[in-house]
Structures are given as C-alpha cells and as structure tokens.
C-alpha cells in the first residue's frame, strides 16, 4: 500500500478512535476514579490505559472497547496500588506517626482501603446497577469470582457503612 494511503487510513482510524474514546470517557473516568489509589490522578490512569491499548489495537478494531479499557485500567490501578503499598510500608518505617498523611475520617476512607478489584465490583454493582453476570463479562472474570469478591468487599467495610446496603 502506498505510504499516502496508509497515512490516510491511519488518520481515519485515529478519528474513529477519538470518537469512540470521547463517548466512553465519562464512564472510564468515573471507573478510574473509583479504582485508582488516592495518590493517582484518575485521568493519568485513563491516559495510561488508553496509551497501552492503542499500542496494540485501534479502538475501532476491538469488539468491546469499553470492556477492554475497563480491564486495562483495573490492572494498572492494581499495579499502582501494589507499588504504593510497598512505598508506604518503607515510608512508615522511616517516619513517625505525626507525619502520616491526613485522612478524612469518613466513608471514603473505608472504601479506599479495599483492593481495586473489590472497589470496581462494588461500584459496578451499587452505582451502575450491573448484575454479577454483566460485571463478570465486563471484567473478564467468572460470575462466581465476582460474587465472592463482592461478598468479601462488603465484609471488609465497617458495619456502619454496609448496614443499609445489604
């Protein structure tokens, strides 16, 4: 294929991808805000996920771009969280109690203690209203694994927070 046609095709792909991304962005951004560690900007996570996806596929070539991006974002969030936990442990050994990061003593703090996949499932179930089957399909897991992880997440939340949610 001549270079001119290939560049034209690439530009068309990019335009189509931009349109797909613009449509998905509000959902991706909210999902990233839920699963990202507090220190990570949700938009950075979305950008990272998009970048990694585009390196392998155009969004228009994916059968379910939304599910693909959700999974990439969730994996990135889990990786970030693991890295930050290692750093926090190292930092806590160096610092005194007084230097702990200020926290807001409320429900968000409870939620932020949960691992990213558990937060993702609670969000998709409670806010988005998805069934376990739909969540499983979206995140590429078995329905049973989703149900189990959701139960575990609820069990980890304080009594006050989950009392009227179950």
């Amino acid at each position: 294929m001549p270079i001119g046609s290939r560049m034209e095709n690439s530009k068309q792909d990019v335009s189509a991808d931009a349109a797909i991304f613009a449509e998905l962005y509000p959902q991706l951004r909210r999902f990233a805000a839920v699963v990202a560690p507090r220190e990570v900007d949700p938009d950075d996570l979305v950008q990272d996920g998009l970048e990694r996806t585009l390196r392998k596929h155009s969004l228009s070539s994916l059968t379910n771009a939304k599910a693909y991006l959700f999974r990439v974002i969730l994996n990135l969030a889990s990786n970030e969280r693991r890295g930050l936990m290692r750093a926090r442990r190292a930092f806590s050994r160096l610092s005194s109690e007084d230097t702990a990061e200020p926290a807001y003593p409320s429900d968000l703090t409870e939620l932020l203690r949960l691992p990213s996949p558990q937060r993702a499932m609670l969000y998709l179930r409670e806010v988005q209203g998805f069934t376990y089957r739909e969540i499983a399909s979206l995140l590429g897991m078995s329905e049973e694994a989703v149900a189990k992880a959701s139960r575990r997440a609820r069990a980890r939340l304080s009594d006050e927070l989950r009392e009227d949610s179950i």
């Binding site: 001549p2 990019v14 949700p42 585009l54 750093a87 230097t99």
Partner: protein, 233 residues
C-alpha cells in the same frame, strides 16, 4: 440512595476531569501516533513512528514519598522553632500541631478523639479538631453523611460534602471558623474568602492540622454585620 452508594458516587466524581480530547491527544502524542504527523519515510515505503514526548504528571512513588518526608521534616522544624508560642497563650489541639495554637474562643473539654460515623439518630462521638471546635460524623436519613460541629456555645450539622470551593461556616463568638475539604485529586485550597452582609469581603489563609484532611480559617466578623457566604480558593 444508601451510604455505600453515596460513598462510591463520591469516589467516582473525585477530582476535575481533564476531558476526552486532551487525554486522547496526550496519549497519542506520547506514543508517537500518526496524529503527531511525525511519520518518517525510510527506504522503500517503510515508516517509523517518532514519538514526541508528552510529560505525564507522574513521578516514581519513592521520589514522591522522599520529597513529602523532606517537606514534613522542614515544616515540623519550622513549627517547632518559629510558630509554636513560648508562653501559655493557647493549648495544643489534642496532639494536632496546628499553626494556629492560640485559641480565640472558649475551649471545650477534650473529647475521645475517635472519629467515627455513627448511625442516623445516634449520639455523636466528637473529635477534638481544635480546642474550641469539635467535629463528629453521623449518617443522615437520606443515606449521606453529615458533619456535625460543636463549639462552647453552639452546635449544628451540615452535609459533609464540603469539598473546596464549598465550605462550612461555624459561628464562634466574634469570628467564624471556615472549614473546607481538599477535593480528592484536586488542589489544596489556600485561602478562605468570606463575604459579609454589608458586601465587603475578607480573606484568610487556610491551615490544615496534621492527621486530618480538613482545613480551617478563622475570620473576624466586624460589629453589626453577618457572614453571608464563604468559599475556599
């Protein structure tokens, strides 16, 4: 809406979105996509993609923590050596080293210092936020959470969704205490802007006590006027 739903919703809407266009553009530029128009032809129609670097606001975690540790050390030393009063002009805030140790209002007896959200209708468990201001959290009937406050002369409750620029205004004698929460993922507010009933405004810097993500500013209220609004910048 239950409390879990409300908390998840709060998490999902944290920070200020940069927008789809900007993120897509940054992503494609940083990976050297054809949109950067940086396709370079070599030899027989082959092409390589030349990436143009777009910096992301991300630094190694160890570097961020090392920097934060340094800042905390410097600030701690500064507070110890400069700000902390030498005389008995005030009282520490239940272990919180606030820059504003001098207490203008009547103080309250120290509380349990156990911040927790109690169920709707239950008695509050207060947290000694300042010597003259205690805070507590209670589930509201609608499933959200209320921030409740108590001074020596007054008490009240408001929604705890007072992320900057929103504030909570607490009357306390001849001044008001303005509270705000730094928006998650957003910038920490630095200044309270209070508007009085006569149309005049007053600005005061926020202070954030260590250990809790709520900033406060004390603003004097001139005689004969009331505070009509306050925002956090």
């Amino acid at each position: 809406m239950n409390r879990l739903h409300s908390a998840l919703e709060g998490l999902a809407s944290r920070g200020t979105p940069r927008g789809a266009d900007e993120i897509f553009s940054d992503a494609t530029q940083s990976m050297g996509s054809p949109t950067s128009e940086a396709l370079v032809r070599i030899d027989q129609g082959d092409e390589i993609m030349v990436s143009s670097t777009v910096s992301r606001r991300q630094y190694p975690a160890w570097l961020m923590f090392a920097a934060a540790f340094g800042v905390v050390l410097i600030v701690g030393l500064a507070i110890t050596l400069v700000v902390r009063p030498t005389g008995d002009t005030g009282r520490d805030v239940a272990g919180n080293n606030t820059a504003s140790s001098v207490v203008p209002g009547p103080t309250l007896p120290p509380s349990d210092n156990v911040p927790m959200t109690v169920p709707a209708g239950s008695d509050l468990s207060y947290y000694s936020y300042l010597p003259d201001l205690h805070l507590g959290w209670r589930a509201a009937e609608d499933g959200n959470t209320d921030l409740c406050w108590k001074t020596a002369s007054d008490e009240g409750c408001e929604s705890d969704l007072f992320y900057a620029p929103d504030t909570v205004i607490i009357p306390n004698g001849n001044h008001v205490i303005v509270l705000t929460r730094p928006a998650l993922g957003g910038e920490t507010p630095t200044e309270a802007v209070v508007t009085f009933s006569n149309g005049e405004t007053a600005n005061e810097a926020f202070t954030t006590p260590s250990g809790i993500a709520i900033a406060f500013a004390r603003v004097e209220v001139p005689d004969g006027v009331t505070v009509t609004s306050a925002s956090a910048n």
